[in-house]
């Protein structure tokens, strides 16, 4: 090695994507996953799944509304978003996403509106400002046929597949980051999204709907099955690298194998995943512990959020043009800690406002423990 060789190709780069991106990916994944959780109850009409569907619908709407707000902040100049629509670039996943996202959002809102309308109309019959407000929101007393709801739901579902595809693909398409460049990434995003959505449902079940037994059981099942699938996907990804089937995955391993931080993160992920799967299974088995399903839900949320944090932020610290790692220190302000807190704050506000205004629990029969 020649000490005369001086690297000049690696100036300090600022992080390209902010924690805002993590928040968006988290919110939108819960959004489309929760949407899927409403299908058995609301679209297929299975009574057993109705409570699950109702909570999931609330989760889905609140997350769908907050996600794009976070996404906007990730743009280095947020107001430039209109460029997407004047420069449509069909070969770019992000461009496709810019078209999908508003439509998806409108369909989810329409779906929820149609689902909550009957209860709103009932509320509008009452007295006071709340009743008057409900009347405006319901936009009249006319009865919306069921097929409209189904159509809206199906439409939202179709677009959610688009969202699933584009969010994963826009990250996985980068060959220059081997840690991202795998077809398994979009799959993993969806699986961890389902896990996180189920987790949030379990948490809200505990806090807002009296800890319904069925919801707990169904949520835990989703988590457990999701973890099995996640393990399979992870094993397949590792196999691709170990066997040399994918040189890109091999590169990915090489880029982090000497880092004690990454090794520690991998170990943590493995342990958390095992803990989550086990705890879900155990709680499902042991009826007496079913009331503690919300704790499993918290762990599921942690797994879902941290997966996205590792993939979107920590992977950016792996240097692209040289060996080694950049240091990323979370800043306190908007583009760091406060941004994360702020997103959750907005979500909480949206959740609570809907909760105050919309009798979404109407018709739900809770079977508590």
């Amino acid at each position: 090695m020649n000490s005369m060789v001086i690297e000049v190709l690696t100036p300090r780069y600022a992080m390209a994507w902010y924690p805002w991106a993590v928040q968006y990916f988290f919110m939108i994944a819960i959004s489309y996953s929760a949407l899927m959780l409403t299908v058995p109850g609301l679209l297929l009409g299975k009574q057993r799944f109705l409570p699950l569907a109702k909570i999931a619908l609330l989760v889905s709407v609140s997350c769908t509304l907050v996600g794009p707000v976070a996404l906007l902040a990730d743009l280095h100049q947020p107001l430039r978003f209109w460029h997407f629509y004047t420069n449509i670039t069909p070969w770019s996943w992000m461009s496709i996403g810019s078209l999908l996202l508003p439509l998806y959002l409108m369909l989810v809102v329409a779906y929820a509106w149609l689902a909550w309308r009957p209860a709103m109309q009932e509320q509008a019959q009452g007295e006071g400002w709340m009743a008057r407000l409900s009347g405006w929101i319901a936009l009249g007393q006319w009865h919306a046929p069921r097929w409209l709801l189904v159509l809206a739901g199906l439409g939202a579902l179709v677009f959610s597949f688009g969202i699933m595809l584009y969010t994963g693909a826009e990250v996985a398409v980068l060959q220059s980051r081997p840690l991202w460049h795998t077809e398994w990434l979009p799959v993993m995003f969806v699986i961890t999204g389902l896990i996180a959505a189920a987790g949030l449902v379990l948490l809200l079940n505990r806090l807002m709907t009296g800890n319904d037994e069925d919801v707990n059981r169904q949520g835990l099942t989703v988590i457990f099955v999701g973890m099995i699938l996640a393990a399979v996907v992870a094993a397949l990804w590792l196999a691709e690298g170990i066997t040399g089937y994918s040189p890109s995955v091999q590169q990915a391993f090489a880029s982090i194998k000497n880092s004690p931080q990454w090794t520690a993160a991998a170990v943590w992920g493995l342990l958390a995943g095992i803990a989550l799967a086990l705890s879900a299974a155990v709680v499902l088995k042991k009826q007496v512990w079913l009331g503690g399903a919300w704790l499993v839900g918290l762990l599921a949320l942690h797994v879902g959020w941290t997966f996205r944090w590792m993939v979107l932020m920590e992977v950016q610290t792996v240097a692209k043009n040289t060996a080694g790692y950049y240091q990323y220190a979370l800043e306190a302000g908007s583009y760091g800690f406060m941004g994360i807190i702020g997103t959750f704050g907005l979500w909480l506000a949206v959740l609570l406002i809907i909760d105050i205004l919309v009798p979404w629990k109407k018709g739900m029969q809770v079977r508590a423990h």
């Binding site: 090695m1 020649n2 000490s3 005369m4 001086i6 000049v8 805002w20 707000v69 906007l72 902040a73 280095h76 100049q77 947020p78 107001l79 430039r80 302000g333 908007s334 583009y335 406060m338 941004g339 994360i340 807190i341 702020g342 997103t343 959750f344 704050g345 907005l346 979500w347 909480l348 506000a349 949206v350 609570l352 406002i353 909760d355 105050i356």
Partner: protein, 1033 residues
């Protein structure tokens, strides 16, 4: 809970959420706001496509070639101070802000171009040739190196000294107050109780050119010798400094960085080239050399002129036919895979170069690997007849018998009674082809290997030819023994010698700072001897002495800048005891008179060496031969540059009783002048006047014209001139009423007297001498003047020179100097500029000089010896291999020089210097790549990071030079009560010289380890040991 109460709580929580969101979304909202108002949240650039790029200084129409100059900018040619190569550069300046924008090369300048433009080409044509018009740009482009580009930051550096400073508080405490230039001069001239520490002798009191300073030793000279003048090197302005020091003030004592830079190399070369006065040296004619051997020099980053050499090397090894080998303890940028089979790196143990040189010489002498025909030419007659530029003394006979009164001298005709001793016809004697003794000027050829008895006027004696003696020295050890010593395999040495010899007169050996070891003089001589044996001196493709300098500061065609009424010839023994044989001292005579052995002397007397700063300072403090009373240093920094000096001298420098007055002239505060009593702010590069010389390897004659292309930023004198080295010496001389300065100081060729009151009085007249020497330069045209940015200079020209001088001098400055045409470089197969003195296989001066320790004659040819101390004992006798297993050495950085640490652009690329360690040594001492290690020597200890690999010789530890500073921005100073904090990052890395140590065989506290013959500071091959540092905070 009541529903309304619940809702209220939920509402409050929601409000809290919104508030949190507000706090978190503030950033994006701010950006959106700025975007709405300004169209961007960022800072608007001048152009939407190419940002804030500079407008070009001129543009060339690609069709017609017409040039349009940008009126807001100008370019001007001057010199670069980025290193001692002193390339000619073109400086691009913003006319409105008077700010330097960018620096590139001067296409007229031989150091900045492959084939420099003839100076009669108009400036606009030269500028056009730098553009892509007709694709000339790639051919003619003229560049500055990385450091040359970055160095412009010096002008606007926060660390620059812009006012005259006087110390407040003890020396070295970093406390200063600004004073006026006039007050500074008053105080240093008159002296007094300047610092409330007691009386200080002013310069007026010290300047006594009559009274001897030591009545017992009258040869020491007058009291004026107690002023020591220090300088970094000649940057084109030294003539004025020397005029003041030697010929006006009358002190003998002057030193520059040579003794801690490359003096061993210079003296070894001087010994071979028969020049132990100026120490001529050569560089390979890289454009035509077929095989080059670089030992202890890296032409891509050091060994001036390195920019030119680096370029020629790259060209020669890719499109030319050069093959080369780099011998160095470290792998440097000169050896590169870019040249694949054309080059090799051979690693060597530091300080063992005499072994390699003698091994190569031995092989060449035993295997007919030398230019026998050329070496057999005994004199000028034979050389001229053979069409050679000169001859060697290979065949000359040396009286090799200690009992003979002329032992060590050449056998001359006068010894044989055939001529009068000392007359012009008293030539050396050779043995001709017939076997008879004949005059070297009469014989057509001489025998190369002669050993016989000869009858002389003083008895029968043994004589040996020079080449015989060289072979004797070479055969003292086997090649295997040499190989063992230097760490290169014997087979490699033989193969190297064979390859070198194969290319005959187009093989060149090049050497430089790597020779600064404890055996450096003989090592340098030995390597240079390879060139002599190959016959490559003065030969095209061999080694070139260079074209030399247009000297305007002598008694030129227009003005005599050398002589002046009242001029003093300085007298006396130098503080460093150089150039004066010990045997001539009163001290010696006293010993002999008392019947005592005069040897060893109290300290080295080096007859062959120039005055050297490595001895001046410590000797002047010790008082042998005498004390220094005052010191003036211009841009000098020996405490950073001389191995082991800081440790030895720091506390002594701080005490004003040792040296009463220390005045520094410098643009920056460095490791040495932080102990000064006064600092005079000097101009920095692009603000200075001067005329520089050229290095060997620049095969044409040249000089660079330096002038202030931007107004100097520092304080002004009362007369409105910038305070600088020039105005300092001029005003100081006038205050001291010294001759040679002030009105009527310069005599013109017209017999009139001219003043020397301002810098330009001197330099513009030197310019006239240069411009009108030989064939005078043509007048500069108006376009030349405008395009080369010298309009601001014209007024000064017209005010100082005569009418007929203005035009040619303007021409000189409009080209940035005077440069011999490229076509003069070669004369058939010979170089255009040759060195005609007889080249020395045996140097008579060296062979008759007596070592002041042993009392014995020095060996008069290259020889092998291990690095040694003054008493002749070897390094390893004092510092064993077991205790000090590694040998530290330094090498030039390709980016950083010894005073460029403040340049941020360079530090962004290389902020510190990890030390080179071989992986086997690392394993042995438990060091991993990147570990912090403590490096300890007999004189010091430093902590560095280890760069472990195969890029250094096993047993060696490599330290890149230019880091490990304590000043030049790293130290904190308080000026007028205001703190100027140091930047600790400028102190990053290590300085090899902190590992230097005292010579254990000299009087304690008086000397660092210096090479015997030259007095050069030893830095290559310092014994060290290393250990891992575990508890760094």
């Amino acid at each position: 809970m009541d529903k309304n109460r619940r809702n209220l709580i939920k509402g409050a929580a929601a409000a809290g959420g919104i508030a949190a969101f507000g706090a978190g979304y503030y950033g994006p909202l701010e950006k959106m706001g700025k975007g709405l108002i300004n169209g961007t949240a960022g800072k608007k650039t001048a152009d939407r496509l190419h940002g804030n790029s500079l407008a070009p200084e001129y543009s060339v129409d690609p069709q017609t070639g017409e040039i349009t100059l940008n009126q807001d900018q100008r370019i001007a040619f001057t010199v670069c101070y980025g290193c001692t190569t002193k390339c000619g550069v073109r400086v691009r300046i913003d006319n409105n802000e008077e700010k330097v924008l960018r620096v590139s090369g001067n296409p007229y300048h031989p150091l900045s171009a492959d084939e420099h433009l003839d100076e009669d080409i108009p400036v606009l044509d030269a500028l056009r040739g730098l553009s892509s018009f007709q694709d000339q740009g790639q051919l003619n482009r003229s560049t500055a190196c990385a450091r040359g580009n970055a160095a412009m930051a010096q002008l606007t550096s926060d660390n620059r000294v812009l006012q005259c400073l006087k110390r407040v508080g003890p020396r070295g405490s970093g406390q200063w107050q600004t004073v006026s230039f006039e007050q500074l001069l008053d105080e240093i001239v008159e002296g007094g109780d300047l610092f409330a520490e007691g009386a200080v002798d002013g310069l007026r009191a010290i300047r006594d050119v009559e009274t001897p300073l030591d009545a017992n030793n009258p040869e020491y000279g007058p009291k004026a010798n107690q002023l020591l003048m220090m300088e970094a090197t000649d940057y084109g302005r030294s003539a004025l400094l020397k005029r003041f020091a030697f010929n006006a003030f009358g002190t003998r004592n002057y030193g520059h960085h040579g003794a801690y830079c490359g003096l061993a190399f210079r003296m070894g070369s001087g010994a071979l080239m028969n020049d132990l006065a100026k120490y001529a040296h050569v560089k390979p004619d890289l454009a035509n050399t077929k095989f080059a051997l670089f030992i202890g020099t890296a032409p891509s980053q050091a060994g001036n002129p390195f920019k030119r050499q680096g370029r020629l090397l790259a060209q020669a090894r890719s499109t030319g036919s050069l093959e080369y080998v780099v011998v160095d303890p470290a792998l440097n940028a000169a050896a590169s895979h870019a040249a694949s089979d054309r080059n090799r790196w051979i690693s060597i143990l530091p300080g063992t170069d005499t072994a390699l040189a003698m091994g190569l010489i031995r092989w060449m002498l035993e295997n007919n690997g030398y230019a026998a025909d050329y070496l057999a030419l005994p004199g000028n007659t034979a050389a001229n007849a053979a069409g050679e530029a000169g001859h060697s003394n290979a065949t000359h006979l040396v009286i090799d018998d200690d009992s003979h009164p002329r032992a060590g001298h050449f056998l001359r005709l006068s010894d044989l009674g055939q001529a009068e001793a000392g007359s012009e016809s008293d030539h050396p004697v050779v043995v001709n082809n017939a076997g008879d003794l004949e005059s070297a000027e009469a014989a057509s050829r001489g025998q190369l290997f002669v050993e016989r008895q000869v009858d002389t006027a003083d008895g029968t004696t043994t004589v040996r030819s020079s080449l015989f003696k060289l072979r004797q020295q070479a055969q003292a050890y086997s090649i295997e023994e040499y190989a063992d010593y230097c760490g290169i395999e014997a087979g490699t040495i033989k193969a190297l010698a064979k390859r070198f010899a194969r290319f005959g007169r187009q093989a060149a050996a090049d050497v430089h700072g790597g020779m600064m070891s404890g055996s450096g003089f003989y090592a340098s001589w030995g390597v240079n001897m390879l060139n002599l044996l190959a016959g490559s001196y003065n030969h095209k493709g061999g080694v070139a002495v260079g074209g030399g300098k247009y000297n305007g500061m002598g008694s030129g065609p227009r003005y005599d800048l050398d002589g002046f009424p009242g001029k003093i010839g300085p007298k006396g023994v130098f503080l460093s005891r150089s150039r004066f044989p010990y045997e001539k001292t009163s001290e010696y005579k006293r010993h002999v008179a008392n019947g005592e052995s005069p040897y060893p002397a109290k300290a080295p007397w080096r007859k062959l060496a120039p005055p050297i700063l490595t001895e001046h300072l410590l000797s002047g403090i010790d008082g042998y031969p005498y004390h220094i009373k005052a010191m003036i240093g211009v841009m000098a920094n020996p405490l950073y540059g001389q191995a082991g000096l800081t440790e030895m001298i720091e506390s002594k420098l701080k005490d004003p009783k040792n040296i009463g007055l220390y005045v520094a002239v410098d643009g920056f505060i460095n490791e040495t002048n932080r102990y000064a009593d006064y600092i005079v702010p000097d101009s920095v590069m692009y603000e200075v006047w001067g005329f520089t010389g050229a290095w060997s390897g620049t095969v044409t004659k040249m000089t660079t014209a330096c002038w202030p292309v931007v107004e100097p930023r520092q304080a002004k004198t009362a007369a409105g001139e910038p305070v600088s080295m020039d105005s300092f010496f001029i005003e100081l001389a006038k205050r001291l009423d010294l001759p040679g300065f002030g009105d009527n100081a310069i005599t013109g060729a017209d017999g009139k007297s001219y003043p020397l009151n301002r810098a330009e009085d001197y330099y513009l007249r030197a310019a006239a001498n240069i411009a009108l020497a030989g064939k005078p330069l043509a007048d500069a045209s108006a376009e030349d003047i405008h395009a080369s940015g010298i309009e601001p200079l014209m007024e000064r020209l017209q005010g100082t020179l005569t009418a007929d001088e203005v035009g040619p001098v303007a021409h000189l400055y409009s080209r940035g100097g005077r440069f011999e045409k490229m076509e003069k470089a070669y004369n058939g197969q010979k170089l255009g500029n040759t060195w005609n003195r007889p080249l020395c296989v045996y140097n008579e001066e060296v062979g008759t000089t007596i070592d002041s320790y042993s009392g014995k004659r020095l060996v008069g040819t290259p020889m092998f010896h291990p690095p040694r101390f003054w008493d002749g004992s070897a390094l390893r006798d004092h510092f064993t291999q077991e205790d000090w297993p590694l040998l530290a050495f330094s090498f030039k950085s390709n980016l950083m020089n010894s005073y460029s640490i403040g340049l941020e652009r360079l530090r962004m690329i290389k902020p510190y210097n990890p030390v080179l360690l071989h992986y086997k040594d690392a394993e042995k001492y438990g060091v991993k790549h990147g570990d912090a290690i403590a490096i300890e020597s007999p004189g010091g200890k430093v902590i560095a990071l280890a760069l472990v690999g195969e890029h250094v010789h096993q047993g060696a530890l490599g330290i890149e030079h230019g880091y490990g500073h304590r000043e030049l921005g790293a130290g904190t100073h308080v000026i007028d009560g205001e703190k100027r904090p140091g930047n600790e990052y400028l102190g990053a890395g290590v300085n090899l010289n902190d590992l230097g140590f005292a010579d254990p065989t000299r009087k304690s506290g008086t000397a660092t380890w210096l090479e015997n013959v030259s007095g050069a500071s030893v830095r290559q091959g310092l014994p060290v040991r290393i250990s891992v540092v575990n508890d760094l905070i």
